[in-house]
């Protein structure tokens, strides 16, 4: 992980999702495009999993920006939502049959290792269309929206410098 001399804020841009599951991989696709931009002082990583694995990746950073797919009722594929941890308050306490979700993992980290947790976590959630069919490609509407989404995230990343 590159260290930036003279900087105090360490920022991670993390793409989350499954890159072979159509739009579920939208966050990964976005992260790869952002990595190409080589923004100074920003680490870019991918996480093809969720839950507690997230803690292994985010610990030690001051600021983490997570890009992931989301599926909302009536959402339009390709729409972008900017969220914070507090926005997940309604779902944070549940648990799935086999894993815990990202906000719960973050809350667990804040409870157990608060000193190593990022002070700020932002979420960019990309409305997905298909998250069921196995494919390395995004669906057309999401693919079309991706450059604009990447531009918006780049803007936020550069503001943080």
């Amino acid at each position: 992980m590159p260290e930036c001399v003279g900087r105090t804020v360490k920022t991670l841009l993390l793409g989350v999702g499954n890159p072979i599951l159509s739009d579920d991989g939208a966050g990964i696709h976005a992260a790869r495009m952002l990595k190409e931009l080589a923004i100074p002082g920003i680490d870019v990583d991918e996480l093809p999993a969720s839950g507690l694995e997230l803690l292994d990746v985010v610990l030690g950073y001051d600021r983490v920006i997570i890009v992931d797919a989301i599926k909302t009722e009536g959402g339009r594929p390709g729409d972008l939502y900017e969220l914070r941890e507090a926005d997940f308050a309604r779902t944070i306490h549940g648990y799935s049959p086999h894993g815990i979700n990202i906000p719960t993992a973050l809350a667990m980290g804040r409870s157990i290792v608060p000193e190593r947790m990022p002070k700020e976590v932002l979420f960019f959630a990309i409305e997905a269309d298909d998250i069921v069919n196995v494919s390395e490609e995004l669906t057309p509407k999401v693919a079309e929206a991706l450059p604009g989404i990447v531009k918006r995230i780049e803007q936020v990343l550069r503001q943080s410098l």
Binding site: V16, G17, N18, P19, I20, L21, D24, L47, P48, A49, S50, G51, L52, E53, L55, D56, I66, D68, A69, I70, K71, T72, E73, R90, T91, I92, H93, G94, Y95, S96, P97, H98, G99, I100, N101, I102, P103, T104, A107, M108, G109, S111, I112, V113, F123, A125, A128, I131, V132, N133, V134, S135
Partner: protein
């Protein structure tokens, strides 16, 4: 801390259909539908699991060498198991015998996976039911509630040892979550003495953590007579099925390699088979209400969702393995295996343990075994040898099997002479358990919901019946709002919603 909340107060429902459904309604997640009769008793219940689509089509025509990396993308929970089964299938496809060092490295890597996976299941998913209680308010009955109850230092140990499991996988596999090291006949990377020593230290700590976890299980679960009552409740959590698991030549439990042993309801061996023979043993049944197939024992036949010797239903995973084997090769796991056997014997149970909630006990024994085996392998200085790759031949067809944390995992591939995939068949652990886990849901629902009286606690006790299988269906979906909570919808006969109960 306050004591766990085991029971709550049910309320009368006049509805006929109860659905336990993920809040987000993502297709990748299952739901439970419970149908009541006029008297308000359970007529039937269904665990519905939609499947990801198009994986076979995605793989055909690709080089088989890609499959260990592609198949592990199916799952964000047990990718290492897919990687190992896939790599073993490639051994068979290429007629390649891995070197001794490669076998050791793969198994050591795999003990990291077991450590990580079993810790996550026991502490994050099972413990809320036991530490907080099955009827505790849903907004407390989760891993954060467990940390609140047991204290931050124990939570930190959980995180630390789960990370050790990940670290071992990262050192050997190249990446913690989606490894890239498996090759036909071996592995891609030698390890250094420094890495070996680092893993040895972590393994020592994992052995101690295994001891701690077993003690915690005794203190929290077995010492609580209400929980022991639940574990021993034969109306709700008891199926006399066949059991399947991997064993060595002495019938001791194995996770990485061995023959597959199936025992009957009395513990007698029905069949022991090599991976290449799996199609002689397992057939798959199809039901109209689900896309998922239900494997059963060919020799016995499919008799529906019933247990007993005439039904080919079988169980895999920790309970399947502990019943299919005669013990463990490592001392601490063996000791606890004997404690389990004696405890059950004192309660009048001999032979296999048919009590579904005993999955959790078997799982903590396996966590202990994984730590001990990790230490044995990491202490072996020969594991740093450069002899990590054996010869291989022209590709053909082959089967690889390993024990995923959730049960027997089968990968079967065929390739043309250029190595391009012409056939792929996979039977994953949770599929092997599908018929049994569905039957467990029906059984628990019938036992818990009487005369139309339902409550969150009772519905959670129905969920407990399938949660102990640690089901991992269609687990490739990780959308941000995926799979966090469960919701129960009570409907009129025409399907319209009149009331919702949420567990968050």
């Amino acid at each position: 801390m306050a004591g766990p909340i085991v029971n709550d107060t049910p309320v009368k429902t006049t509805e006929r259909k109860i659905t336990i459904d993920p809040i987000t309604r993502l297709e990748g997640h299952g739901k439970i539908e419970i149908f009541l009769n006029d008297a308000g008793n359970v007529e039937n219940a269904y665990l519905q699991i939609p499947e990801l689509r198009g994986f076979e089509r995605f793989c055909i025509g690709r080089h088989v060498m890609e499959l260990p990396v592609l198949t592990n993308r199916l799952c964000g929970v047990c990718p290492a198991a897919h990687h190992i089964a896939s790599t073993k299938a490639l051994d068979a496809v290429f007629g390649a015998e891995p070197t001794e060092t490669a076998k050791k490295l793969r198994e050591l890597f795999y003990m990291g996976q077991y450590t990580h996976s079993h810790i996550a299941h026991f502490y994050a998913l099972a413990a809320p039911d036991f530490v907080l209680g099955p009827s505790a308010p849903a907004n407390k009955r989760n891993v954060l509630g467990v940390v609140d109850a047991v204290g931050v230092p124990i939570g930190a140990e959980v995180i630390k040892h789960r990370s050790y499991g990940q670290k071992v996988q990262e050192i050997i596999g190249g990446r913690a979550t989606h490894p890239v090291f498996g090759l036909p006949g071996g592995v891609s990377k030698q390890i250094s003495e420094e890495e070996r020593a680092q893993m040895e230290e972590m393994a020592k700590s994992c052995v101690e953590f295994g001891k701690f976890t077993i003690k915690l299980f005794h203190d929290v679960v077995l010492a609580n007579k209400d929980y022991l009552g639940l574990v021993l409740n034969t109306d709700a959590y008891y199926l006399e099925t066949y059991y399947m698991g991997m064993v060595d030549k002495n019938n001791k439990s194995q996770f990485y390699d061995g023959d597959i042993r199936v025992v009957d309801q009395k513990g007698k061996e029905l069949v022991k088979f090599k991976p290449s023979e799996y199609l002689d043993v397992i057939a798959e049944h199809v039901e109209p209400w689900t896309y998922m197939k239900m494997p059963y024992l060919k020799k016995v036949g499919w008799k529906g969702f019933v247990a007993g010797p005439s039904s080919g239903m079988f169980r895999v995973g920790p309970l399947g393995r502990i019943n299919a084997c005669t013990g463990y090769t490592t001392p601490l796991a063996q000791k606890e295996y004997e404690v389990l056997a004696k405890t059950m014997k004192d309660l009048g149970v001999t032979g296999p343990v048919h009590h579904t909630l005993a999955y959790h006990w078997a799982r903590v024994i396996e966590l202990q075994h994984a730590g001990e085996r990790m230490l044995e392998l990491a202490s072996d200085r020969k594991i740093t040898s450069s002899d990590i790759r054996g010869p291989y031949k022209e590709p053909k067809e082959g089967v690889g099997i390993c024990e995923a944390p959730r049960g027997t995992l089968i990968h079967h591939y065929a390739a043309d002479k250029n190595g391009l995939c012409t056939k792929i068949n996979m039977i994953v652990a949770s599929t092997n358990n599908y018929a049994a886990s569905n039957t467990s849901v029906v059984q628990a629902a019938k036992a818990m919901i009487k005369n139309g009286m339902v409550s969150q606690g009772l519905l959670n006790k129905v969920e407990m019946a399938f949660r102990c299988y640690d089901p991992c269906h269609s687990c490739g979906t990780h959308a941000l709002n995926g799979g966090p909570a469960l919701e129960v919808t009570i409907r009129r006969k025409d399907g319209t919603v009149v009331e919702k109960l949420r567990n968050f």
